[in-house]
């Protein structure tokens, strides 16, 4: 599989009044061509920062990429100048943001906002760009695109605005689309529509997507592979089935366990106790240790490396160390691992219009 983007040992810090906040602390992942990689984690886990770092959109100051490389083809994005980066943004890598209500310029027609990228990257004339903008609006499912291209953002509903944002992002046929919680602010039915749209578009255009979310339901729906982030690090990564049906990291267990399933009975949800660590002063050892009911002494001393479970599946927990005691995952997780887990990962099975 062709790796289109590879992030190695990425560190991002923010200098605040209180000191250096290490938001991302050595993240490694890659994105294959045509796939959707979901990065899951709670707020403050560094997932958004990671994605912004890829786009080099971390405001500096206070933020800065401390070290690491972001390989995009043969280029290292971390090293590019701002000018070179501008050529990549919007044309080769695009981004969609969380809140469609605020991510559009309120005083510019949506047509112009779409056209900007086209004019910049594809040297289109205004009229060409406008035509293309209308096409894009149609593509993302906005009815009466010819008329609406001249309207302002406030004349659109939230879901429609998010479609516009997607149209902007897709304008130049980017190879990578980074979607930073694009459905979090939307209602379920609208969310479903947007997810369907993204799936469709990916099929049509073959774009690789990094999808950032904290909603495991959405992950299950859209992802091919999943990276679970905690406290600025990736703690488990694998295919979607591996993560959902054979999770290995206690944090992943916690995440999965804390969601009720529709058929669940009255049993208590698995809550992860406490709060994520303060990245101003990350704890020694495994950052998850204080919240981990299975924590071992080594967790408070040393950071766990990524243990390999399969070719695609890695997890950073000392529980996978040969000397670690075998632990029983919580009941709900066990149920997942036994009952529902298919023996083989079903990566290729994504095709075939599963959604309406």
């Amino acid at each position: 599989m062709e790796k289109i983007l590879e992030v190695n040992n990425l560190h991002v810090s923010f200098d605040t009044f209180a000191g250096e906040v290490q938001a991302v602390r050595g993240v490694n992942f890659h994105l294959n061509k045509g796939e959707t990689l979901a990065i899951v984690g709670e707020s403050g886990s560094g997932k958004s920062v990671t994605s912004k770092a890829v786009m080099r959109l971390i405001p500096n100051p206070p933020g800065r990429i401390k070290e690491g490389e972001i390989k995009f083809g043969d280029r290292d994005l971390a090293q590019l100048s701002e000018k070179e980066m501008q050529k990549i943004r919007g044309s080769e890598i695009s981004m969609i943001f969380q809140d469609p209500m605020t991510s559009l310029n309120p005083t510019m027609t949506i047509g112009k906002q779409i056209m900007e990228g086209l004019v910049k990257h594809q040297n289109m004339s205004k009229s060409e760009a406008k035509e293309r903008a209308i096409e894009l609006l149609k593509l993302v499912g906005i009815p009466n695109a010819e008329g609406r291209v001249n309207e302002f953002p406030h004349q659109f509903s939230g879901g429609m605005r998010q479609r516009v944002v997607i149209a902007i992002a897709l304008a130049c046929n980017p190879r990578v689309l980074i979607a930073d919680e694009p459905t979090t602010a939307l209602d379920v039915t609208i969310q479903a529509q947007i997810l369907e749209l993204l799936n469709d578009l990916q099929e049509k255009m073959g774009t690789s997507i990094i999808f950032i979310t904290h909603d495991l339901g959405v992950v299950a729906n859209i992802a091919d592979r999943v990276a679970v982030m905690y406290a600025g690090k990736i703690v488990e990564t694998g295919t979607v089935d591996e993560i959902f049906y054979n999770p290995q990291h206690p944090y992943t267990w916690g995440l999965l366990g804390s969601m009720p399933s529709l058929d669940s009975t009255d049993e208590e949800l698995i809550a992860i106790p406490g709060s994520p660590p303060d990245l101003l002063d990350p704890p020694k050892g495994d950052a998850f240790a204080p919240r981990n009911p299975y924590a071992m002494k080594i967790d408070t001393e040393m950071e766990p490396p990524l243990f390999k479970i399969s070719d695609t599946h890695y997890a950073a927990t000392w529980l996978l160390h040969e000397k670690a005691p075998k632990v029983e995952p919580p009941a709900a997780i066990k149920k997942r691992m036994q009952g529902m887990a298919p023996s083989e990962p079903i990566i290729g099975a994504k095709d075939g219009g599963k959604n309406v």
Binding site: Q86, G90, T102, P106, E116, V165
Partner: protein, 309 residues
């Protein structure tokens, strides 16, 4: 929209009438009549003069007469400038004030916007502080001191500009600078705040993510959105400037309205006080209305019909 403006105009008229009435009564509270300074008048003559201008009538009668005349468009005649129509006097005075005010506004706004933008883009840098200090300096030195210094250095010492009078563009330069310094400071500070606000908005990130250059982001997305709220402070600023500043007008010998207004109050020239007050209020109310309408035109989010959406 038509209905909205209609409604606004009616409420404006009411406000206007209340201002007219209150000013009238307040003015009547000022001790003395316009004729007590005419040193050699006898009591009889003062009575006669007061009679001539209806000043001996009971205040409600005077009020009634004044409002009656006002509504028929008659502002009366000046007491101090014997017999001249108030409207004529305002008419001949407003020109220089308005010209100077608008010129200062334009110059000040341009420089102020520029400084504000620079300061915001270089937030917390030396340039930011430097720019703000310059902006603040503009309002930090009393403007009669600035004006006096300029007049001395540019006018007398170096003879670069005319010392005073109102006789062409060269004559407007120093007063413009003196007045614009306040505008610069106000606009620069406001713009800086707005810019910082806008720069933190999500749509700026969207624009950057499109790959636009920093310049394009600043010009197309930031400045425009940051400038819109400036319109709100423009209203009072325009009125303040158009109506002239007494100090600058005196120093540079500009026959403007500010000087006339202050002197009318100090000489109990009732018709002029009323006339200028009403003129100011109308100007103020109208400018505010225009600003609101303009706001609606410039900011697509605000639809006039429903007020702010």
């Amino acid at each position: 929209m038509g209905r909205y403006i209609g409604g606004r105009i009616i409420s404006m008229l009411i406000t206007f009438l209340i201002i007219a009435s209150l000013t009238f009564f307040l003015m009547k509270l000022l001790p003395g009549t316009p004729f007590n300074n005419q040193d050699k008048l006898t009591e009889t003559q003062i009575v006669q003069l007061n009679d001539k201008y209806g000043l001996n009538d009971p205040v409600p009668v005077q009020y009634f007469n004044y409002m009656k005349n006002l509504l028929s468009g008659d502002l009366g005649v000046s007491f101090q400038q014997d017999g001249r129509e108030v409207s004529t006097i305002i008419g001949e005075r407003i020109g220089p004030s308005a010209y100077l005010g608008l010129q200062s506004l334009v110059v000040g706004t341009i420089i102020g916007l520029f400084l504000g933008i620079i300061a915001a883009l270089k937030h917390n840098s030396f340039l930011d502080y430097g720019t703000m200090v310059i902006a603040v300096l503009g309002i930090s030195i009393p403007n009669f001191v600035i004006a006096g210094l300029m007049q001395y250095w540019f006018g007398v010492k170096w003879q670069l500009l005319p010392v005073a009078y109102w006789d062409g563009f060269a004559y407007t330069i120093m007063p413009t600078v003196a007045i614009a310094s306040i505008v610069v400071a106000t606009i620069a500070r406001f713009m800086r705040t707005e810019m910082l606000e806008v720069l933190g908005q999500d749509y700026i990130t969207t624009a950057k993510a499109k790959g636009l250059s920093s310049t394009a982001v600043v010009i197309r997305h930031t400045i425009r959105n940051a400038s819109i709220p400036i319109i709100t402070i423009m209203g009072p600023l325009v009125v303040g400037l158009m109506t002239g500043t007494l100090v600058i007008e005196q120093i540079f010998v500009i026959p403007g309205l500010g000087e006339k207004f202050v002197n009318s109050i100090l000489t109990n020239d009732f018709p002029i006080i009323m006339g200028t007050t009403l003129f100011f209020s109308i100007l103020f109310i109208v400018v505010i209305l225009l600003v609101d309408i303009l706001y609606g035109i410039i900011d697509p989010r605000i639809r006039l019909a429903g007020g702010k959406s």
